[in-house]
């Protein structure tokens, strides 16, 4: 796909939110507190980000020794509840989710997730 300018879709945002945790200005002094660095909250935050359906596109980095099971559990129970709709790329498969009585927004996201899954299957070419 050819692009001439940068985009800011919701799936791009997932990648962005991860930066809020370990990038950005910090104040190294007693006058301020930053808790984004504490591992417990960090794990929760990363799990929260991972729960973006589109996060499957992006690897999220966890610190050594993170309880991955906990993260997966935390991320697995999440439902995406965003007001913005996700722009679905052309070529997306049919969305069976429409038959499940879900609203259009969820169906649209589901179809993108399906599409991602298809892509992943089509390109399971390891490393």
């Amino acid at each position: 796909m050819r692009e001439t300018g940068p985009t800011r879709s919701q799936s791009d945002l997932a990648e962005m939110l991860e930066l809020l945790l370990d990038k950005g200005v910090v104040i190294n002094a007693d006058i301020a507190v930053t808790v984004g660095e504490t591992e417990l909250l960090g794990v929760k935050l990363r799990a929260a980000i991972a729960s973006f359906e589109t996060a499957a596109k992006y690897g999220l980095e966890f610190p050594e020794g993170t309880d991955m099971k906990r993260v997966e559990d935390a991320a697995g129970v999440e439902e995406l509840a965003e007001e913005e709709t996700v722009p679905v790329e052309s070529g997306g498969g049919s969305s069976e989710a429409n038959d499940d009585g879900e609203n259009d927004e969820e169906a649209e996201e589901a179809s993108e997730a399906d599409e991602d899954a298809e892509k992943a299957e089509a390109k399971h070419d390891g490393d």
């Binding site: 300018g5 940068p6 950005g24 002094a29 006058i31």
Partner: protein, 264 residues
Amino acid sequence: MVEAFEEGRYLYCVVDADATSETGEPFSMAGIDDETVSVVAENGIGAVVQSCESPYDTDDLELVRDWLLTHQEVVDAAGETFGTPLPFRFDTILKGDDDRVRTWLTDQRETLETHLADFAGHWEYRVGVAWDGELVREELESSDDELADLRDRIDEASEGTAFLLEKQYDSRIRDLRQARKESLTSRLRENLEPLVREIDVLDSHQNVLGEGSSDEVVQVAFLAHEEREADIGTVLDDIAAEPGIEVRFTGPWPPYSFAPELDA
């Protein structure tokens, strides 16, 4: 570890407060937990803040994600109004009230002015390059003599020998693919460097959910002036024109990855 404080100011970003919105209205919006966000300004430097009594923490992931989105929305809105902001890390809080914020702005005036001037007009952009693994493999197989030779030997070998040769074959493919990835990375870096101020090649992470890794083989983040967007787009178009290559170009974002550390 988290400490309690009587009164605090949650910091979203620092902006050039002399730049004002077109409407002339003071900057205000709903922030985390619907607290009112305002700009505390001193000497033309503004801190975009809201009041808070303790750091934001919860077990409710839905809520956490809302907070992150809100943080990003506020920083974005501030950027639209005042130009490139210096964005703070999530949950960074100054202990004290608005006067404390003003004192801090006065203390840090020189540093903040320098950084604001430095970042003016610049934003963070991110690029991911994905390739079609099958296509790359086919290309490598059709162009590499060593692979062709191995293939011939495998076809003629006994089962045991063939197995060992297959191992060699796979290893050769891996090396070639790595070399291809490195050359793509170098090309991206060399073509972008004249157009950007700073560039970081990101490590391709493992996927958190174990659903297969991202198919992006190269990811970079860079700080560039907004006027360079079109030129950067042209460079990326050239790379994307190759068969099997897809380029994802996102931005403009607040310059999180290139933000400075402040020692007070």
